[in-house]
Amino acid sequence: MNIIDRRLNPQGKSLANRQRFLRRAKEQVVKAVRDASGKRGIQDIENGEKVTIAAGGVREPSFHRASQGGVRDYVVPGNKEYVEGDTIQRPDGGGGGRGSEGSADGEGEDEFRFVLSRDEFLDIFLEDLELPDLVKQKVKQSESHTLTRAGYSVSGSPANLNLVRTMRNSLSRRIALKRPKRDEIREMEELLREAEEAGEDAEQIQALREQLERIVLRSRRIPFIDPIDVRYNRFETVPKPIAQAVMFCLMDVSGSMTEHMKDLAKRFFMLLYLFLKRRYRSVDIVFIRHTHEAKEVDEETFFYSTETGGTVVSTALEEMRKVVEERYPHNEWNIYAAQASDGDNMSSDNAKSATLLRDVILPMCQYFAYIEVAAEHNMGLSALGRETELWRTYKQVQSPERPLAMRRVRSRREIFPVFRELFAREKAGA
């Protein structure tokens, strides 16, 4: 008997099969990922996800009999009261009390769930999204420096000596200048000694001796390592951009915002978060919701609490300014904001909002996206004709040099395209 420990064998042999499977089930997985992303919080969108996909697209067909029709016999265990000739009510779904015979695959496998790794999930989630090249103005204000390798130099501190490079130079120099090898010298010495012992004639010994001297001299003249061989690793200090960003989620939660609208907003915020997360080392999120007054809250409250009241948009902007001043000095942080609203605002507040946005918020923001969410079936007024109060107000502020983008979103389907459009536009304009 042999006993072999295979535990150290490479794990995950099935990885290649898994990739083939994902490629195969792409369409369903993409759909499942999009669906799944709606159900989770913004910050944990980054973890892997269990997705449920229909087995339909990854069915493995085979010839097998239909589950209905014809005459079938089954032998089953556990008879309690039946006698020959009894009749039994056909159980629901037909097929009788039969077991798992028939197809090995197919029936009964309508769908199944499996876990995508974080990367697989994100890849699919962001797949058709061209991550735009966002404005980098503030990133340039670097605060710290870092050392990076930058080739070799002929001078430096001994600690930075690059031995490999130095030896390589030395070797090529020795080859090029034909420095005699140690073996050659030894061989020559041997020859000379043999000649001397054998008592060859003096002339020949002399010739050998001179030859040896020449070689030795040559090897002295061409050193093993010459200062010109020496190389040091060179480092350069490069400015390191500040890699932190904060994202403000502003949302109107007055009574007119339905769950559907909040869902749209959430998905938009989610995309924005993912996008920032991939670009920056750390991303903070600040949730601010407002009715006639604004408050910073946690994610749960932001999306799911029910509160109602009047609508005063400027309070949210005011709150955002306050938070920025307190915690996110805008020369150190990249500030992004997305505002979702159904567009209602108290008319008396419009002017104030516009001023605040133009003079305070936009100058400190990298990007400010205004998403106007509408009810799915509301194809009418706000979509086609009448612009909302807030839309009109913001439109006045909008200008090519201000990082403000505005879009309307009505259904989940539109979130992705709108997001892409928003960021792609900026790229085109830059």
Binding site: M1, R65, V75
Partner: protein, 517 residues
């Protein structure tokens, strides 16, 4: 087995932790019982310790340690993993491979008692069955299989590099769909996988050596209409009818390339290798379960394992041989472990302590004494269908309370047509045996005709028994796969086996493009 209790020996192990020393000791003790007392005959054993994840890996690729890559294995992995993580299903404690040496996997998570059980079950039970059952002897090549799989894996990887993933996947998908139609059911000659591998290499070399690009430029003769051969002549030339669809396509499909044929051949060989396993589920599991039960009991009897260990064993043993009744929520058909184990015990009982009824039913077997020998004989010579037909006793039918139900789609009710009584025994036994007859379980589909000089339409026939037609959606999908390989139109006709009347026709048009596209 003789019930002489030898002097209690020291415990082989204590506690749940396992280590190599203990396993070695246990193996030796188990081997002694298996070979000396039970008279088993096994291939050399190789026991490999793996992790749970590796176990999942292994059984998502149909239990083989090395396998070519295909998405369906990924799918099964995803499903198994999900079931496992959710606790719907435990992992198999072991996987055993019909090869020589016989490889048994044990999981590192198992307790020492489980390892002992697995060694008894897999390394001796299954191993003995693989080596001695005539189906396995006839159909499988235990020495060659691992090398062949290695070859298959490399070959398919090579094809992927050369022709692209998608092209290879299309062939494999089609071949997998036809896997059950890819076996020779009657032995022609023993397939020797090593020869198979060598022949493929030779074919390849020959092609490489004789390749001459000039042939491409030779103008094709305008083939005039050749005299139409008679139908019977044509069928004879093609070897029709042919039930091994994969074989037919591999040999005769006009548009396949060499490597595509080779992939079909690989899948066909693997399918053939598993064919005996499909026919002997009850016997194979019954054999292994019977063997582990005997061995564990014996270890306990002789004081080599502790009471606690024996209880732990009994706990997993009983859950393995548990048979829910038909009206139980957990019922999902007859558990091959339960039926197999019960039948093995029954055979030994009939041989050793028969009742009058047994004498009447099994005149040759009843009272002949050596139960172990009788069981070994059964293991060697039968497959599930014939085994049930031969050995299912009235007593066992009563114990399991078997009854048969007729489900006629025409009737609003199911009919209980036989129960476990004097009049029903033979019928129930016959019906249960049929339930294990692959020839009956799998639809009878054959290639019946093709006109190579004409439109090259491939015609398949399904002989319908009891009026049960094929599942239409799946049939269509498989036909599409066949059409992809064949390159031309494919038609499937379902005819009644009795009246020859045509019940249904399915047709799939020729794929566009050439060959498998």
């Amino acid at each position: 087995m003789t019930a002489v209790i030898t002097r209690p020996e020291a415990l082989l192990y204590d506690g749940v932790e396992w280590d190599y020393d203990k396993i070695k000791r246990v193996y030796d003790a188990v081997e002694h019982i298996a070979l000396k007392e039970m008279g088993l005959d096994v291939y050399p054993n190789q026991i490999e310790v793996i992790t749970a994840e590796q176990m999942l890996d292994a059984y998502s690729s149909i239990g083989m340690p090395l396998m070519y890559k295909h998405w369906s294995f990924g799918k099964h992995f995803a499903r198994d993993e999900m079931m496992y993580r959710k606790g719907y299903r435990g992992l198999a404690y072991e996987i055993v491979i019909n090869s020589s040496p016989c490889i048994s996997y044990i999981m590192e998570e198992n307790t020492m008692t489980m390892q002992t059980l697995v060694i008894a079950h897999a390394a001796f039970g299954h191993n003995h069955f693989f080596k001695n059952n005539q189906l396995f002897q006839q159909w499988t090549d235990a020495e060659g299989i691992l090398d062949y799989l290695e070859f298959a894996k490399t070959y398919i990887t090579h094809c992927e590099e050369r022709y692209g993933h998608a092209a290879v996947e299309r062939v494999l998908d089609a071949a997998h769909a036809l896997m059950s139609q890819g076996v020779h059911k009657y032995p022609k000659k023993r397939s020797d996988l090593r020869t198979e591998q060598r022949r493929e290499r030779e074919r390849q070399e020959y092609q490489d050596q004789t390749f001459n690009d000039l042939w491409r430029t030779v103008p094709k003769t305008a083939a005039g209409p050749r005299p139409a051969k008679s139908v019977s002549e044509r069928k004879k030339l093609l070897g029709l009818p042919e039930e091994n669809i994969l074989y037919f396509l591999e040999k005769k499909a006009p548009r396949l390339e060499h490597w595509q044929r080779e992939i079909l051949r690989i899948v066909r060989h693997i399918s053939q290798y598993f064919y005996p396993q499909k026919q002997t589920k009850v016997m194979n599991e019954g054999c292994a379960t019977y063997v582990h039960y005997q061995i564990m009991s014996r270890l306990h009897e002789t004081g080599q394992i502790s009471e606690g260990a024996f209880l732990e064993f009994l706990h997993s043993h009983t859950s393995v041989v548990f048979q829910p009744e038909f009206d139980d929520k957990r019922f999902s058909g007859i558990n091959p472990y339960a039926l197999g184990f019960a039948m093995m015990q029954d055979i030994a009982r009939i041989a050793e302590t028969p009742t009058d009824e047994d004498r009447q039913w099994f005149p040759d077997l009843a009272g002949r004494g050596d139960g172990m020998a009788a069981v070994r004989e059964a293991w060697a010579n039968f497959r599930d269908e014939s085994f049930v037909l031969q050995y299912l006793s009235p007593q066992l039918m009563r114990k399991l309370k078997l009854f048969s139900v007729r489900d006629d789609a025409e009737d609003p009710y199911l009919l209980v047509d036989h129960i476990h009584n004097e009049r029903g025994y033979r019928d129930i036994r016959k019906k249960l045996a049929r339930q294990y007859d692959l020839g009956h379980l799998e639809p009878d589909i054959q290639i019946v005709d093709v006109d190579l000089a004409g439109d090259r339409k491939l015609i398949l026939q399904h002989r319908v028994t009891n009026g049960v037609l094929l599942d239409e959606g799946d049939a269509k999908a498989v036909l599409r796969h066949i059409a992809n390989l064949w390159g031309y139109e494919v038609q499937l006709i379902e005819v009644s086996a009795i009246s020859e009347a045509i019940l249904k026709e399915h047709a799939v048009t020729a794929p566009s493009g050439i060959g498998v596209v």
